[in-house]
Amino acid sequence: MGIKVTEVAKKFGRKQILQNISLEIEPNRIYGLLGRNGAGKSTLLNIITDRIFANGGSVTIDGIPTHEHDELLGNIYLMSEVNLYPKRARLQDLFKSSKNMYGGFNEAYAKHLCEAFELNPKQRFGQLSTGYRTIFKLIIALCLPVDYVFLDEPILGLDANHRELFYKELLDTYSSHPRTFVISTHMIEEIANMIEHVFVIENGKILVDDDVDHMLSQAYVITGPGETVDQYTVGLNVIGTESLGNLKGNYVFGNLNDDREIPDTIQISRMDLQKLFIHLTSGEGGSK
């Protein structure tokens, strides 16, 4: 059960943006949707929320297609990078409209968030800076009674303090009222500790669909003298390399052959999610 994306393809003109993507989004989990610029993340989110149409494949929630389905679409909120709210509308009126259309809105929490982010709800949407537009959309996203919240670039224009505040509020609201969050961002380091499962899209295909813990348990950095490191990593899935003088670091994704003896001059450490993402999507390295 949950959202099921099956064989979704999308072309813009001659350019194939998504190539038969399939994935499942389960209830009450926090997902990371990662990919380089133009990988197709926003396109995928727009298709899931029926804002644009796929050229093939299907999107269902609990087995029912989302296309033109008010109840299902009303159970998803996509906070997108683009602004779809009327510029002349006041924020408090937009809160009210969202409440009416989604059939609920946590007004007390919205008030608390407005105060915490110092957002005046009497302002008009068009008067807000990029950062405050993001904050406004985040407040709506966190206060609606939906089961699936998609956050596309949720920290666009936010300063470090507001980002911290957002992460804290996200985790607070998630623990008090668990629901699914799918976060698409380039600030991987900042969300790495939050997400449970990750989808990596590369060239319109799903490159990784795995739990973060499981994924990181197979991601290593082998450092040491260049020659020794190369000898040790022969036959392993090396996805990237960095050198500094005679020292070399090979990034390995996959199982190490633990039966072999580890040379004294070699160090094996864990890779973080950002490094893993960079090397997986950089176009160098092995089979991934």
């Binding site: 029926d50 008010d70 009303g74 998803i76 779809l84 409209s97 009416n100």
Partner: protein, 259 residues
């Protein structure tokens, strides 16, 4: 359920727009002549309330308001899709909104004409409807009242559907394509009219003439106001239904554009 809610949301928004439009129209009718008189003659000698009250801009303004407000399709689409509302629901709610709004405007315009304008023009009832169809049901017949309101209602509604048709089409197009079409369509129309003017003598256009006569309810008579109002009423009703179905089909294809 959601249709009802979107209807309320949209109707409230358009009602506000309608209020502003009428206020602006009255300012235009009453204030502008005064301002112009003061600017160009320096006095209000040529201005009389009696003359100002003779102006009947309301039907024209109603058409303008409905065409412009119905043309706005993409903006509301963005807002409603952001709020998880399907295209079909918005379309359904919009039918009720335009129907009710045009009926409301038709009733307001009717009341304004008979309460304000008619006494000031010396009780000469010369509405467009009466000049063409007034005698058909009997000039003093009670049924002329609902027929006149019905006629204007459907006329206004037709313009709303037409506005929505162009709005829906333009919602499918990119800004650049839209601009090119805005230039190409009038040029194309001028060329077509020129072509018809030049070559219509060689064509058999009798059927067109007969069709138009039928649609407007033309009756061969020497008296004024004896045309049949039910022909245009029926034609407009059919056009509204067809237009609404076509608009549904177009709106089903609207997607969020790359911004």
């Amino acid at each position: 359920m959601k249709t009802k809610m979107i209807f309320k949301n949209k109707f409230g928004y358009y009602l506000k727009g309608l209020g502003y439009t009428y206020i602006l129209t009255f300012l235009f009718i009453f204030l502008l002549p005064i301002v112009f008189a003061l600017l160009f003659t320096g006095s209000l000698d040529g201005i009389s309330i009696h003359n100002l009250l003779k102006n009947n801009l309301l039907p024209f303004i109603s058409i303008l308001f409905l065409v412009i407000s119905s043309y706005r399709v993409y903006g509301p689409f963005k807002f409603y899709i952001q709020n998880g509302i399907s295209r079909r629901t918005v379309w359904k709610a919009t039918i009720w909104v335009t129907a009710l709004l045009s009926l409301l405007m038709s009733v307001i315009n009717y009341c304004y004409y008979y309460a304000v304008i008619l006494p000031n023009v010396g009780n000469v009832d010369n509405t467009f409807y009466n000049q063409l169809f007034g005698q058909f049901l009997g000039f003093h017949s009670f049924w002329n009242i609902p027929a006149q309101i019905l006629y204007e209602w459907l006329l206004l509604w037709s313009f709303a559907v037409l506005g929505m048709f162009f709005g829906s089409l333009s919602a499918l197009l990119k800004k650049r394509t839209r601009r090119m079409l805005w230039i190409a369509i009038p040029i194309g129309l001028v060329v077509l009219v020129r072509f018809l003017m030049q070559f219509h003598t060689g064509m058999n256009l009798d059927w067109t003439m007969n069709f138009i006569k039928f649609v407007v309810g033309y009756t061969e008579t020497t008296n004024e106001g004896e045309w049949n109002p039910f022909h245009p009423v029926g034609f407009m009703a059919i056009m509204i239904i067809l237009g609404t179905i076509i608009n549904y089909w177009i709106q089903q294809h609207i997607v969020l554009k790359n911004q």
